[in-house]
Amino acid sequence: MSTSHVISSGHTAGESDGRICRYTLAERVHHWVGVFSYVYCLITGLAFWSPYMFWLAVLVGGGATARFWHPWLGVAFTLSMFWMYKMWRPDMLITEPDRRWSKTMKQYIENDDQNLPPEGRFNYGQKLFFWLMFYGVILLLVSGIGMWFVESIPWSLRWLRYLAVTVHVVAAMATIGGFIIHVYMGTAMVRGGFTSIIRGEVSIAWAKTHHRLWYEQVTKGTSAEK
């Protein structure tokens, strides 16, 4: 992280009017390309999943339209995910502070945050979600291609047809679980998270609270003292 991440800061550290850049424009764009494509695949996928949710396909133009676009938006999501991997991989590697932090997960969940060890740019939970989606999308893409071109799988290898269905369902369910938690935490639970992925900025107090090691890293040698 370079010092350019500090957009402005108060005269004394921790002033609430100090803002730090948390996500660059490119990072936000790719996140939202991912959101759009994933949510499309989620809505249409749920429509194909259960007759009781088939009405969801109506929202996007009917079953046949949903079926046409679902694989293409899946490809778009894969590309956005790979792009996020390219941008965020260094920040997403599991580190020693993560291992310390992971032991206090229960306190974090219960909002008993006073004694949590400091975390870097992303905390352990965010990293888990990232890797869940990263490996999930690889499985979804590979199995999805099998379902997309199911007739191209020869009859003698038909077990691949069944494997593709199974893997697609399991991987989709795993990502949906992560997605529910991600949306909840990003919007309702961790206040400031949602605005940060829209406007890119967080307050210094927010940075210190949630990602202290990152805060210290990006403000090192700047006017914003520790």
Partner: protein, 296 residues
């Protein structure tokens, strides 16, 4: 066989039971294919293409009399040829008319997610309704006979309809009408079973085909197309007719328990985060050390 037999017994991808399900019992229609009197003339192939209004498809030569390797979306009826070497070293040229089997328990219908894209009539005919088909290809995974085929132009699935349009007007299917040897028969399932068993007994008793028998696989609840085979113990020799076809257990699990496990898990996730919010609420930025908190 009138339109009265076109009451719907089952529909694909439908939330809840099919309207009218089980209120009526009617006879099943059935095609009987006696492979022992088939001469491989392919009149049934031509009749099928003609009746259904498709142009003829290019043939593929593969050192055999077979028209092409497999049925296509507009070629629903194909005689499969196999030069089968018998145990005594002689060769039998086995010919089997391949088409949709119209299973009593159709795997395509079980797999289909689109409401009403596949229907099973009370007369047993399993029919694709292209206006409801979304072209997902799940039926391909569900079918134990590799029958449904995708039309890339319209993005819909197609297969043999058992000439439901003819049957509902009291006519026999086009293939039956065209057969010159009488190896194809059409009638009620009970009648066709009787005829098939009688023919199999004749083959066993009078012609020395000791293993002759009727192919009406129980794994899919019986089929609306049954075969008389010279050797019922080896249906695979007849162009890959599966010995014990089943709806794949993956499809059964996917469309059964997995659905409810998945739905409960998703619902549980949503309820879980809601309860978490009610119990613990949002994470506020707290004043720590010299920070004074505040909004982001």
């Amino acid at each position: 066989m009138s339109q009265a037999t076109l009451a719907v017994r089952r529909i694909s991808g439908h939330a809840g039971p099919a309207p009218g399900e089980g209120v009526e019992r009617d006879y099943q229609v059935c095609k009987l294919v006696d492979t022992t009197t088939c001469i491989g003339c392919k009149a049934c192939e031509v009749a099928c293409v003609e009746w259904n209004g498709y142009e003829f498809t290019d043939t593929v030569f593969d050192n055999s009399y077979q028209t092409m390797p497999a049925t296509t979306w507009k070629y629903w009826n194909l005689i499969k040829f196999n030069e089968h070497e018998n145990s005594d070293g002689t060769i039998s040229l086995l010919m089997r008319k391949d088409q949709c089997m119209h299973c009593a328990d159709p795997g395509c219908l079980a797999a289909c997610p689109a409401d009403g894209a596949i229907v099973q009539y009370t007369n047993g005919i399993v029919d694709f309704q292209q206006q409801n088909c979304i072209g997902c290809g799940y039926c391909v995974a569900g079918c134990p006979f590799d029958i449904p085929k995708f039309n890339p132009a319209t993005k819909k699935m197609f297969k043999c309809t058992l000439c439901v349009d003819r049957v509902s007007e009291g006519l026999e299917p086009a293939c039956i009408k065209s057969c010159p040897t009488g190896c194809l028969h059409f009638g009620t399932k009970d009648d066709m079973k009787d005829l098939a068993e009688a023919r199999a007994a004749q083959l066993r008793d009078n012609f020395g085909f000791e293993k002759a028998g009727v192919y009406d696989p129980a794994g899919v609840g019986g089929t609306g197309v049954i075969y008389v085979l010279h050797d019922a113990t080896n249906p695979e020799a007849y162009g890959g007719l599966p010995k014990d076809p089943q709806v794949p257990w993956v499809v059964r699990f996917w469309k059964g328990p997995a659905k409810w496990i998945g739905n409960l898990a998703m619902l549980g996730g949503v309820i879980g985060v809601t309860l978490h919010y009610l119990r613990f609420g949002p994470k506020e930025v707290h004043a720590r050390k010299n920070g004074n908190g505040g909004h982001p």
